[in-house]
Amino acid sequence: MSVSEILQSALVFHVNAFYGIVFFMQANFFLFLGLPAAAYLAYSEIRAKTSLEIDDKRRLG
């Protein structure tokens, strides 16, 4: 098997993988839109909750 054949077969595999990823993204487009929004909401709720908590202890030294 020559080097060019190896490269060619590797290219075919990569092109297939690329198409596979693109089709997967296309099929689950709305899922990929919703997941970051859900993650942001979780982050937002944690931030809002921790901002209300008073965890600073102040003392006079």
């Binding site: 899922l31 919703g34 859900a38 942001y40 709720e45």
Partner: protein
Amino acid sequence: MTTETFSAENSRSHLHYQKVARPEDLISKLKIIAFYAGVVIFWLVVASLYRGFGRNWIIPAVSVMWIAGAITAFVARNDEENTTRETRWVILSFLGFLVLYRGILPFIVPLSSAQMAAALDINIPAVSGEAIAGMLQSVLLLVSVLTPVGFIIWCGQKIRQYHGRRTRQSIFEKTKGVRRGQP
């Protein structure tokens, strides 16, 4: 338990600030993350239960609800916690209804008018059996369409209210500036 101590050397009263990270805080954060992860998994499970309808409608509809909630929480910062909490409860209720409906549907649909009439000992016209099947379909369509639409309207109204409040506040600030001679 982690303890960080900050001392302000230049302050007059020598105040020491001690920030304590308690295990309860970490647990409450983990609970929130687990709840959201659970809702996302539940979303995927419900969508798979409805097959084509789930893939073509439930996933985009719930996705739009997540996005609307996130935009509202980002824009209307004064009510961030309530917005996030209400978003996840609305989505969870919507998915809960869909899963219940999917579970109950196979028991209701095969019931004929004659069986119902015999069970309840009342007279039910044969046509009403067909009407019930159509009604069940309409209920599913109405709930699955109107819930996301209603939620988006609620988010829009919340953003509008927040901007209204901000405009009023800016007018007050401007008026105060005019009074102080700083227009």
